[in-house]
Structures are given as structure tokens and as C-alpha cells.
Amino acid sequence: MEPFEKVHGVVAPLDLPNVDTDQIIPKQFLKRIERTGFGRFLFYDWRFLDGKTLNPEFEMNQERYRGAGILVTRANFGCGSSREHAPWSLLDYGFRCIIAPSFADIFFNNCFKNGLLPVRLSEEQVEAIFQGVRKTAGFQMTVDLQKQQIKADGGMSYGFRVDPFRRRCLLNGWDDIGLTLRHEDLISQFESRSAPPLSPTSA
């Protein structure tokens, strides 16, 4: 995984609560066996009218949000299915950071495993960012994971908190599996002392 220190970029708005992973990446694209190339399909049914033409009604499609690296949205983002294709498509589209008042658990976890930073801010702070984004075309922001701080156009500045372990993993680009395998001895010990019915009887 690539280390994450900070991201600076245009902020795009998605003004809806409870955005589920079926919306982030619809199921017809989950048949692919690759990890890459999902950006084209992000928010597919909202972004496109007929699969090709951009839907002008979908706010994120406006020219002013082109090349956005940060997404601001509402509560319970990423609910529903566990599909990791959701963070893959957000990343592949160009987002490195999602800001919302709250996230669904599995999605939140999946983000960290892929170097996508989910930041929780209060409802009021998120509202203020939405207002900034709408007032100023090309509204930009820096999200600094090292300092756990957001600085935005117009002098806006917010602190945020990320779980220290997750923060360290992101900053260093550590791979969870590598970390866990350092404790291989503990896993083996656990396996040797754990009693049946751990093993299925007929295999």
C-alpha cells in the first residue's frame, strides 16, 4: 500500500445521507476479477444517463469539480454490501479522502486497507464545508494525516482524529498481513491449544 501523508485538492460534494455501496459501484461491475479500473463505474447510475452521457443534474459532474481529490458527503456513507470495489472505485476515480459525519463500519475498514482516508467531522463542520464548496468554484482543501488537520480555502481549519494504529499504518503504507505474520508464533500457539470442534469432522 502507498503511504498516505496528506492530500491537497478540489473538494466535490455528494449531498445525500446513507449512500450505499450499491450506489458507489453497482453490481454489474463486480464481475471483474481485477482490483483496478473501477473508477469509470463510480456512482454509475447517478453519473450517467444512459451509460455514456454525463447526467448534468448530478452535482459532482459539474466542471468545477473536475479532478477532485476529496469528497464531502453526509451521514452513514458506505452502508450496505461489504464490496471493497467501493473504495477501489473511489480511489481509481481520484479520491484520496472522504469527509462525512459518519461511515458504515465495513466500508470504513475497507478504506484504510486501501490507502483511502475516511475523516469524520461533526454535522456542523461538514455543513460548513458544503457551504464553502458551493460558494467558491474550485474550493480546495488540504487534509494532513500527520498533523490530523484540515485546512481549507477561506481560512477554514479543523482538527480530526484517526485511530493511532490505523494512522501509523497509513502513514507508513504498512500491509496488515505482513504485520500479522510477525506474530506467526502466537497464531501457531493458539492453534495448538484450541480444542475441537474447531476442525470440521469430514472434509
Binding site: D20, K27, K31, S102, N110, H183, P197
Partner: protein, 475 residues
């Protein structure tokens, strides 16, 4: 010793490593794998040159993107076919048992786990699928994970997890007539909302829950994720043990196992981080009117008016949902006409679900407006249902009778809604486009779905004689 919850007991028994300020490393006893969320995980293993640590604790099947029509024919969609083939290749290369399309045990992963006795009390069980919470019905700690975590479990048989909070949901009293397990869980989600369980493991308890059959308990636990919870669980009891006895992968020394499982209850006085109490007498058959499972109402009520929602987020959500669903506030729910009916999914595709629906449709005809299908959850369910002649009842009424799989629960295979079609479905998600772009989904119980198929509109099933033994039908 401090009284422990059921969750605490299982969690503690699986701790491999605990370090302050870090997620805990917990051991995973069963890992279920399906075709959609695993290819990238196996690819990751290959790239890193890592083996699967415990192929003997890993079991795979294909369920999400397979057709439910004739199995003798090849899968027409080349991309879907490649994904299915990839799972076959991965299982062969890493020596993982696979219940493939030719297996008599193939089915939706959350239907076959319990059916095969892979799901047992006290175990930790994961799968790259959010409805893994289903398996908690057996007193297992079971939750859905993402593909990176699938790879992590394949490589290490462990998972890094922050300890979740615990939430007790107690349902007391006798279930009123016509109320199915689905109605219990839909009511709960309606009450706590789609994120009310966030960060939590729910334990369902109380008389009403104990009175449920194992299959009904699975329906309840299945939808825990729709309330935002990581997992849902129910303490095992004699019903659990009876269900498991003699299953293919059940422990050889069953009695000894049962003796251990009997300790898997929350101790009196155990503390939960939250608690909710529900009276069964307040429950009624439910139907969703919106585009998330929390947007739900009793069948004898009306489409709500968003203007009456206090919370601005809820109001905005409701407005958008009604627009998408093409519904007007104030419309009686029973006046809503339907085009399609789907009986299936890991929530409601087991034998009892099919029996209750079949009983209702027996001797009646599906409305000429409606296209209706039944998709059994597994080959075993299908086989047993056919032995009982349920497929004849369905077919004679005008239902399609299909092969097992996820089917129109998510419409990854050819079973999808056309834009604008309205579907009454026994599945678990009514998200926009879930069953097909532009499709509109109303979630209900199997009997409610069966009744809607017959009448061509949403129906209050309490007007039928349901012959339901589990209900306190007034005589």
C-alpha cells in the same frame, strides 16, 4: 468473575494477541468464500507468494452471479463465467473445498453454512459478504469482511478487529397473528435506523426470540447489518442443537460439543453497552416504502409524508425515496400495485419460508399483472421442497421455480427488474437499483410476498388463514 455476555465469551476465547492502542488479533474458525469478493484476495496471495494457512477451515461456493436457469447450459455472460472459473481455479490451486454448480450442496453461502453444520455455536465465522451476520443465529460470532480482510484471513486465519460494542435487543411476548420473523427484524430496523447498530454486535434475546425456529432466527440475524450492526447473535439452545445434530460437518463427539455450547449464554447481570426492549404485541406485518430498509411501515398504514419528519436528513431521504419509488404520501400501502414478486435470498429462501408461501398460494393463481419467481436458497432446500411437492404448488399458481442462488436479490445474474418495475421481494435491501436499474423494491416476509403475487398489489396477510403454528392465531 464479572458476568460476561455471549459476545464477550466468544471474543475472549479467540484472542490471539491483544495490545493496548491496537486492534486485537482474533482467530477465525470458519472462512466462507464466494466468487465475487475473493478473486482479488487470491491474486494478492499469489503476488506475495503466500499460501492459504488453513484450507481445511475454508469453504467455497458460487452463488452471486450464477444463472438460476438450466445448469447444463454454460454461463452466457463471459465476464461472469470468468469469475466463476477463477474461483474454481483458486480453490483447486489452494486446495479449498468448493461446492460448485454440480454439487448437491451448492447454494447461497449463508444458507449452506448452517445446512452443512459448518456454522456452530461459539465459533468465529467470516465471509466477504455483509450478510454473514446470518450465522449468529447459532450463537456464533459471524460478520462480513472486505476483500483485503479475506486475503488477511486466507493468509493468517486471523483478523485484526477493534472490539465492538454490545447491544441487547430484547423482544418479549407472544407474536401476534401474521407476524413473521422478517416483520420482527424490519420493525427493529425501522426503530433503530440503518445506522443504529453501528459499531455493535447485537444479541437478540427474550421470549419471542426463543420461540423462533432456527430458520426464523437466521432471518432475524441476517438483517442485523441493515441496522448497521457488525453482527447479530442468539444464544444457542436445544433448538440449535437439534438442528445441528447429524449435519455433514457437525462435530463427531456431538454430546461433548453440546455440553460446551450450553455455556454460551450471557450471564445474568452481564452488561451491554446498550439495550432496547420491544413488546411482541406491538408488532405487525411490515413493508418498506423507501430505498433503505429503515424506511418501513406496518402494512395497514399509509405512505408517510416526508414533511412530517423532524430530522432534516430523514426528510430529505424520504423525499428522494418517494420520488424514486413513485409513491404519493398518504396512499394506503395496500393500494400499491406490483409487477414482480421475488421469493428468495439469504434472508428468506429456506424450507420454512417456501412452505409458508406455498401454503398461501395453494389453489390460487398469480395475478395476470404479476411475474413471480421462487429461488430456493440452496440445492438442498430445492431438493427437499421438491420432495414435499412445493414446486408443484408454486408452478400451478404461476410462479417460476428456479435453481439456487442469490438471483434477483442483487441482480448480478440475468434475473433483474426493468426500469420502473415494482417488485415485492423477500430479500434484504431496497436500495435504488439494487434489483435492476430503476427497479423499485418493497421488502416483505414470504407470506406477504406470496399474497402480493396473488392479488397483484400489497396485501395485509392477516386476512388469510395462514395455518401458522408459530403464531397465536385467534380462533
Amino acid at each position: 468473575m464479572k458476568p460476561q455476555t455471549l459476545f464477550d465469551k466468544i471474543w475472549t476465547a479467540h484472542l490471539v494477541r491483544e495490545e493496548p492502542g491496537q486492534p486485537s488479533l482474533i482467530y477465525i474458525d470458519r472462512h466462507l468464500v464466494h466468487e465475487v469478493t475473493s478473486p482479488q484476495a487470491f491474486e494478492g496471495l499469489r503476488l506475495a507468494g503466500r499460501p492459504v494457512r488453513r484450507p481445511d477451515l475454508t469453504f467455497a461456493t458460487m452463488d452471486h452471479n450464477i444463472p438460476t436457469t438450466d445448469r447444463q447450459l454454460p454461463i452466457r455472460d463471459p465476464i461472469a463465467a470468468r469469475q466463476v472459473r477463477t474461483l474454481e481455479d483458486n480453490c483447486r490451486d489452494f486446495e479449498i473445498p468448493l461446492f460448485d454448480l454440480n454439487s448437491p450442496y451448492q447454494g447461497i453461502v449463508h444458507v449452506i453454512g448452517p445446512e452443512l453444520g459448518l456454522t456452530l455455536p461459539g465459533l468465529t465465522l467470516v465471509c466477504g459478504d455483509s450478510h454473514t451476520s446470518t450465522h449468529g443465529a447459532f450463537g456464533a460470532l459471524a460478520f462480513g469482511i472486505g476483500t483485503s480482510e479475506v486475503e488477511h484471513v486466507l493468509a493468517t486465519q486471523c483478523l485484526l478487529q477493534d472490539k465492538p460494542r454490545t447491544l441487547l435487543i430484547q423482544v418479549e411476548g407472544l407474536r401476534p397473528y401474521g407476524v413473521a420473523a422478517k416483520d420482527i427484524i424490519l420493525s427493529i430496523i425501522g426503530r433503530i435506523g440503518t445506522s443504529g447498530g453501528a459499531g455493535s454486535v447485537i444479541e437478540y434475546a427474550g421470549q419471542t426470540i426463543r420461540d423462533l425456529t432456527m430458520e426464523e432466527r437466521m432471518t432475524v440475524c441476517n438483517m442485523s447489518i441493515e441496522g448497521g450492526a457488525r453482527a447479530g447473535m442468539i444464544a444457542p439452545d436445544d433448538k440449535t442443537f437439534t438442528y445441528l445434530r447429524g449435519r455433514r460437518y457437525a462435530p463427531a463427539d456431538f454430546e461433548e460439543a453440546v455440553a460446551g455450547w450450553k455455556k454460551l449464554t450471557s450471564d445474568p447481570g452481564a452488561e451491554f453497552d446498550g439495550a432496547i426492549h420491544i413488546e411482541a404485541a406491538d408488532l405487525s406485518p411490515q413493508v418498506t416504502w423507501g430505498t433503505n430498509p429503515g424506511q418501513v411501515a406496518p402494512i395497514d398504514s399509509r405512505v408517510p409524508d416526508p414533511a412530517e419528519f423532524d430530522d432534516p436528513n430523514a426528510r430529505k431521504s424520504a423525499e428522494r425515496a418517494l420520488e424514486y419509488m413513485a409513491l404519493k404520501p398518504g396512499t394506503p400501502l395496500v393500494d400499491i400495485a406490483v409487477d414482480r414478486v421475488f421469493i428468495g435470498s439469504c434472508t428468506n429462501s429456506r424450507l420454512e419460508d417456501l412452505r409458508s408461501a406455498a401454503r398461501l398460494v395453494k389453489g390460487k393463481r398469480v395475478s395476470s399483472q404479476v411475474q413471480a419467481m421462487v429461488v430456493p436458497g440452496s440445492q438442498q432446500v430445492k431438493w427437499q421442497a421438491e420432495k414435499e411437492g412445493l414446486h408443484h404448488l408454486f408452478r400451478e399458481s404461476g410462479f417460476d421455480w428456479r435453481e439456487s442462488g442469490c438471483s434477483m436479490c442483487l441482480g448480478m445474474n440475468p434475473d433483474i427488474l426493468s426500469p420502473g418495475q415494482r417488485c415485492v421481494s423477500t430479500s434484504n435491501r431496497n436500495f435504488e437499483g439494487r434489483q435492476g436499474k430503476g427497479g423499485r423494491t418493497h421488502l416483505v416476509s414470504p407470506v406477504m410476498a406470496a399474497a402480493a403475487a396473488i392479488e397483484g398489489r400489497l396485501v395485509d396477510v392477516r386476512q388469510y388463514d395462514l395455518e401458522a403454528t408459530a403464531s397465536s392465531k385467534p380462533s
